[in-house]
Each structure stands twice: as C-alpha cells, then as structure tokens.
C-alpha cells in the first residue's frame, strides 16, 4: 500500500501552503489559463520572456489543491532564468516522471521537482501536478485558448 507521505512530502505541503511567485503580472509577455474541471482547480500563469528567449520571470495566481499549487510554485521557481528551450525540455522530463514513463530521479535536471515522483501511485492526481505545466507550454506557444486537463 502506498503511503500518503510519498504523495504529500513536506516540500510539497510547504509550497502548497506558502506558494512562491504567487502574484499577477500585468506586464507579462506570455500568459495562459488552465482549468481542471474535475476538482475545480484554476491557474493563471504569467511569463516574461526576453527578446533572446530567456524566461526572466514566472508567476501565477489561482485556486487549487496542494498538489497543483505546489507544482505551480516549484515550476515557476525552476523555469525562472531558463531559456525557452530548457523550460520545454524540463516540461517533458517532468511529465515523464509523474506519468512513470521515466521514473528515474537520479539525474540533476529535475532538481527539487523530483519530490513529485510519489504521484505515480495516485493516478487521479497526476492531472493536478500537470496542470501548471500544460499552462506553461500553452503560454510559450502563445495560444490564447485556456487549457484543460480533461
């Protein structure tokens, strides 16, 4: 039986309760909204991407469960300072982690995001962790339609 603590690790609970980069950015260059209709999670993501393709700032607002809030908090922290290409690569790596396609956490690329590896055991919560990341790719694609996890 999987232990709840594998899912709700201290780092996740901490980011869930005290999300970092939790603010609005009216001067952002990229923006996307995401919805998880199953649990009512909503996220608005704001990015500032420089001319030379660097994510200079990332922040978000919204209402969500501990998992989606922590995921958004840690994602915005992680992609800040990355190039757009690096951010997209991290998305793929993170997605492969939480869906179990590539469950290894030994590489350095994931960093703290490796705490989400316990979520594999909770298939109906994978969407929660994935929501901010889908908003990220949508924002980077410059797509104005809201994303949904359904």
């Amino acid at each position: 039986m999987s232990d709840l603590r594998d899912l709700y690790q201290d780092l996740i609970l901490d980011h869930g309760k005290k999300p970092r980069n939790f603010r609005k950015d009216d001067a952002c260059t990229h923006h996307a909204e995401g919805f998880n209709p199953l649990c009512g999670d909503q996220i608005a993501l704001f990015l500032r991407v420089s001319q030379d393709g660097k994510v200079e700032d990332a922040c978000f607002q919204g209402k969500g469960c501990a998992i989606s809030t922590a995921s958004a908090s840690m994602m915005t922290a992680a992609v800040k300072g990355m190039t757009v290409e690096e951010a997209r690569r991290l998305f793929v790596r993170f997605r492969d982690l939480i869906t179990g396609v590539d469950p290894s956490t030994s590489d350095s690329e994931l960093g703290k995001l490796a705490v989400f590896d316990g979520i594999r055991e909770y298939p109906n919560r994978i969407k929660c962790a994935a929501l901010p990341w889908h908003a990220l790719t949508t924002a980077l694609d410059g797509n104005a339609d809201p994303v949904s996890t359904e």
């Binding site: 899912l7 709700y8 009512g40 999670d41 469960c65």
Partner: protein, 414 residues
C-alpha cells in the same frame, strides 16, 4: 421529510439491506469500503443485477419488431418496466413515460423539442442551485431561439429565495425548470408551491428529480408537474437509462428531436408519418436491459418504502451533521431547514481534492469538486467542496469512519 409516518415495523434493517449489495463488501487500499458518494451514483442491489443477467440469458431480442417469442418476451419486459415507472410517478398513462439515457438527456430533449415551440423573448426561469445539465441546455436554446434565461437567487443557507422567484415570474415566463433536491447542497425545494406559482402565470414546469426520486415521493399528478426527469443510476438502477415524464397534451404538440427506427409509422422518401407516443420520442434500439434493470430497481425501492428509506437516511444525516460540526475547521455548505442525504463541507484551508485523496486511502469514498454546480460554489465563495452523500445502506458507523478519516486528513495536511 415524513420520518414520523414510519412505524417501527417498517424501519430499515440496514444489515439485511447491505447484504443485498455485493459491491459494498470489499476492501479498498486495504481498508473496508465506506461508500459515501451516492449523489453521484448509487450501488445496485442483487435483484437489479440479476434482472439484467436474466434478460441477457433468457430473453435477449430487439423489441417492437419481431414475431418470434424472444422478441415478445423482451417487449413485454420493456413495456412492463414502463408501466412500473408510470405507477411510481403516478402518471396518467404509460405513453407519458419516455425512456432516455438519463436526466441530462431528458432536459436536453425538452430544451430541443419543447424549445421549438418557444419564440425570441420568451423567458425560462431556473434557480441558482441547478446542476449544469439544467443550465447549459437553456443557454444553448437561448442562442438558437433568442429565449432569455432568468435565475432565481438562493440564500446563505442554500435555500431558494421564493419571494424573488415569484418576482421573476411574469407572463413572459414560458418554462420554469427547477431541481427538486440539490445535489451539492441537499436542499429540498417546495416544489408543489413553485409549480402552482409558475402555473399562475401560464408557464410549464420541468422538475429535475435526479436526487429526490430515491427517497421522496414524486407524484406527477398531485404536483401537477408538466415534465419530470430522472436517472436510473441514482435510483439503485443501471447507468445509461433515465425517464422523461411529460403530460400528453404537451408531448403531442412537441416535434420529435431524433429520427429513425421505431419512431415512425410509415416512411417514404416523400413523407414520413411519426409513430404515436411514447415511440415518437424513442428512435432506435433503446437500452433494453437498462430499462428492465430500472424496473427492477423501482420494484426494490418500493419494497423497502420511500418513507422508510427517507427516515433511515435522515437519521444518518442528522448524526453526520452533528459529528462533522465537532471537527475543527469544518464548514458545512448547505444548511437548509428542508434537506436530505447530502453533507457538503470544507475543512479549514485544506483543498477538498486533497481531503478526498486522504479519505480514499482510508477506504472512504466521497466526491470532491464543484459537483457540476459551479454557480453554487461561486455563491458560497469556495472553488470546491467535499461531499459525503447517503443512501439507504449507509450507517452511523460510516459517519464515524468518515470523521476518523477527516482527522487523519488534518494530521497529514493541516
């Protein structure tokens, strides 16, 4: 509800009832299953499961079209279920009972077909506590025909503001569509009074009985309801089947919204003559086994008695309300004087979805989210709630398991 009319002899023997539900007797995540998601769907007693197996093992055939014996038996069983639904709802005739896929299809059918008889500027009145299935079809109709959707407000307890409802009624109101019992709040609406008020301005009334029909008598003639919709799966029956009751005078005027086999008397490329009621609205091969299962479910519910079921659920609801209120941080959403079977709540700052995951690991199945009633969530300023909802097989011990699991959630997430 009418708990007072249940004599001790008619009380529910909950152990005997639980023995009739195979699915209840299992472990999830290593814990005994405590199923408290009955507003979403209820489990099926052995009698319902057997009725469908029996049909497939003995009578399987298409209906209304074969000369052979199996087809006759299948047709008899299908039409027998229609007669049972007619008696359950006290409709005047079998032809007023139309089978659908569920509540959602029933409402959409009325919006599509009765909607054809409406004109731009005609008003449709709903309430703030409707399920999305009783909001979106009317928005679609508004787009198609230019009808206007009006919404009657609810108060802080989750009760309809009846005075405001009455003020919104006018000769422009052509259709009123209201939920009998709210799925996210538990509120029971004073449906007879609302129907009378709507009729006074000449509007027809659709009653969404999806939640109420499993413990409240819905007597379409006593209520003078024009349309009633329900889902079999919330009434201990199979999924994929529902009922649309309509008064014949209305159904006769309504155009069929689907064409095909069974709904016609004669077809040529020049002209098609539609079949009579109820077949006019039942194009194609229906969910025959599902309808037979619904008939068995109604027979089962009637054998227990709606009043006895209601009295039992009310006891567990009262106990649950009291126990939940003792847990620090619990806020109950939906505190109507008149309510049944639903306990919606939030737990401090902990998101309901996280609550739901911890409860699941403790074997306790509840629903979390907006329950297809986003406007209700907005009204109470919450993105979602946790909802425990009751059926006749739930016990006070289920509530105790719920509360113990909530303490665990506070420990893990608080």
């Amino acid at each position: 509800m009418s708990a007072a009319t249940v004599t001790p002899a008619e009380r529910i023997d909950v152990d005997a009832i639980r023995a009739e539900f195979p699915v209840l007797h299992q472990q999830v995540h290593g814990k005994p299953l405590v199923y408290l998601d009955n507003a979403a769907t209820k489990h099926k007693p052995r009698a319902v499961i057997d009725s469908q197996t029996h049909y497939y093992e003995h009578d399987n055939a298409n209906i209304h079209r074969g000369v052979h014996l199996l087809s006759c038996r299948a047709t008899d069983a299908y039409e027998g279920a229609r007669a049972r639904v007619r008696r359950f709802l006290n409709a005047a005739e079998d032809a007023e009972i139309l089978f659908t896929r569920g509540t959602t299809e029933g409402i959409n059918r009325v919006a599509r077909s009765y909607g054809e008889l409406l004109a731009a500027g005609d008003e449709i009145l709903i309430t703030h506590m409707e399920h999305h299935s009783n909001i979106v079809p009317w928005q679609m109709l508004a787009k198609r025909k230019g009808t206007v959707l009006k919404v009657a407000p609810i108060d802080d307890a989750g009760q309809l503001d009846v005075a405001a409802f009455e003020r919104l009624l006018s000769p422009r109101t052509k259709l009123v569509s209201i939920v009998h019992q709210s799925n996210s709040l538990g509120t029971i609406n004073p449906i007879a009074e609302l129907i009378a008020k709507a009729h006074a301005v000449g509007a027809v009334v659709l009653v969404d009985a999806a939640q109420s029909c499993s413990h409240l008598k819905v007597d379409v003639r006593a209520l003078d309801a024009d349309f009633v919709v329900l889902s079999s799966h919330k009434l201990y029956g199979p999924t994929g089947v529902g009922v649309l009751y309509g008064k014949r005078a209305l159904l006769d005027r309504m155009p069929p919204d689907e064409g095909g086999g069974d709904m016609i008397l004669s077809v040529t490329f020049e002209k098609t003559i539609y079949n009579k009621l109820p077949h006019k609205f039942e194009a194609g091969t229906p969910n025959i086994a599902g309808v037979i299962g619904l008939g068995a479910a109604i027979e089962w519910v009637e054998s227990k008695g709606l009043d006895a079921i209601a009295a039992h659920e009310d006891d567990v609801l009262r106990y649950g309300t009291q126990k939940l209120c003792e847990i620090p941080g619990v806020r109950i959403i939906g505190t109507a004087t008149h309510k049944a079977s639903v306990l919606s709540f939030t737990l401090g700052e902990i998101h309901p979805h996280d609550v739901g995951t911890v409860l699941d690991m403790e074997g306790v199945a509840i629903r979390t989210g907006h329950h297809c009633t986003q406007p209700v969530m907005d009204r109470f300023g919450v993105p979602a709630t946790a909802r425990a909802s009751l059926a006749v097989y739930n016990t006070r011990a289920d509530i105790d398991a719920l509360c113990a699991a909530l303490h665990k959630a506070i420990e893990v997430l608080g």
